[in-house]
């Protein structure tokens, strides 16, 4: 992933920070706005090199749209999964069959990988134990038979990925690349 | 209003349970997880308090708290795996 220009990266950081400022103050008082802008400009100048590589390209409408769409999708997945956990916790027999499985991702950028990992973690039943390159190691509370009894490593990864990473990747691939 | 009692009772039970895990362990990560949960619950509790007192300023406090707690948990986690 090639880097965007400094200006682009700076502006992107500035915009995001200013938006955050708006949210933080939750106020439209011009004093806050003026100060917030100045502050964002300063902080952005100091932090844009580590904050972003792609700059304004992040604000491509498609990406924004996918990101907005991802929110309810993810929330729903999360709630569903939480109910599943509720079942396992409340069930007197505590039906668990845990294990650590191996997935691969198609995402290339770090923010993408982060989002995927977080999404996985937040969805109950799975936690990202480690990420090493494209390999994700996931602690799974109920390893299904198809994954557990996969005939080969490849199949294992394929089945696991299908269950765990794929559902998120289709959004994240667009948002983060 | 269902009453403050129900939330507080649930939160109180939750806090007690995580306290129990913190005390009992048995491993250090167990205790850390308990702490992590406690901090999360406390953040929520602070937000509830903000509403109870009708002071929006307390939301800032909750956010600072969440942030410091995050830093703390990460620090402990990294310490445990020898990442410092």
């Amino acid at each position: 992933m090639e880097e965007a220009s400094k200006v682009s990266r700076y502006l992107y950081t500035l915009i995001i920070l200013f938006l955050i400022w708006l949210a933080l103050t939750a106020s439209l008082d011009e004093q806050e706005l003026i100060f917030g802008f100045v502050l964002s400009a300063i902080v952005a100048a100091m932090t844009y090199p580590i904050f972003t590589t792609r700059g304004l390209a992040n604000l491509h409408p498609k990406r924004v749209a996918y990101a907005i769409a991802y929110a309810p999708y993810f929330l729903w997945a999360m709630i569903m999964a939480n109910l599943d956990v509720a079942y396992r916790v409340l069930h007197p027999k505590r039906p668990i069959r845990p294990g650590i499985v191996h997935c691969k991702t198609i995402l290339k950028t770090n923010p993408g990988k982060l989002s995927l990992a977080n999404s996985i973690t937040l969805t109950p039943g799975t936690i990202t134990l480690d990420v090493d390159g494209d390999d994700y190691f996931i602690h799974w509370i109920w390893v299904p038979d198809e994954v557990l009894h996969a005939e080969s490593e490849e199949v294992h990864v394929e089945k696991a990925s299908e269950n765990i990473t794929r559902p998120f990747e289709k959004f994240l691939k667009v948002i983060f690349g | 209003m269902i009453g403050v009692g129900v939330y507080l009772a649930l939160i109180a039970i939750a806090t007690l349970l995580s306290m129990y895990r913190f005390m009992v362990g048995p491993t250090t990560p167990d205790r850390l997880v308990a702490v992590d949960i406690m901090t999360t619950i406390t953040t929520g509790l602070m937000v509830l308090f903000a509403l109870y007192y009708k002071r929006i300023i307390f939301l800032d406090v909750a956010l600072v708290y969440a942030m410091l707690a995050f830093g703390g948990v990460i620090a402990f986690a990294r310490y445990m795996e020898g990442g410092l």
């Binding site: - | 007192y53 009708k54 002071r55 300023i57 307390f58």
Partner: protein, 114 residues
């Protein structure tokens, strides 16, 4: 009347003191000291509390006579920072001790005596 806050504060102080008095590990003693400090801070804050009154920030329609005592809160801010500073010093001393003595057991850290 002893309120639950006072009780909690005193309890923390006493638990801290107990730790200092019985724990052999230096780190545990330092943690106990911190617990004690926390108790003291809680006590300070509790002393400034006035039933039914709000934080002493006079915005959102809070009038001067609807706020709790602001002084203890100001004091606690200072006390907390002082506690942090003490803890930082104590930790560095502990690091040094561990380096030189290879132990954190207080019964073995007594080259200076008599």
């Amino acid at each position: 009347m002893i309120s639950v806050y006072y009780f909690g504060a005193i309890a923390l102080v006493l638990v801290g003191l107990y730790g200092v008095l019985v724990k052999k590990n230096l780190m545990k003693i330092l943690i106990s000291l911190s617990i004690m400090e926390t108790g003291v801070n809680l006590l300070l804050i509790s002393i400034g509390y006035v039933s039914g009154k709000s934080a002493p920030i006079l915005s959102e329609g809070v009038k001067w006579n609807q706020a709790v005592d602001p002084i203890p809160q100001a004091l606690v801010l200072t006390a907390i920072v002082i506690g942090v500073a003490t803890t930082a010093m104590a930790l560095s001393a502990a690091i040094l001790i561990y380096e030189k003595y290879g132990t954190l057991n207080v019964e073995e850290i007594r080259r200076l005596r008599g």
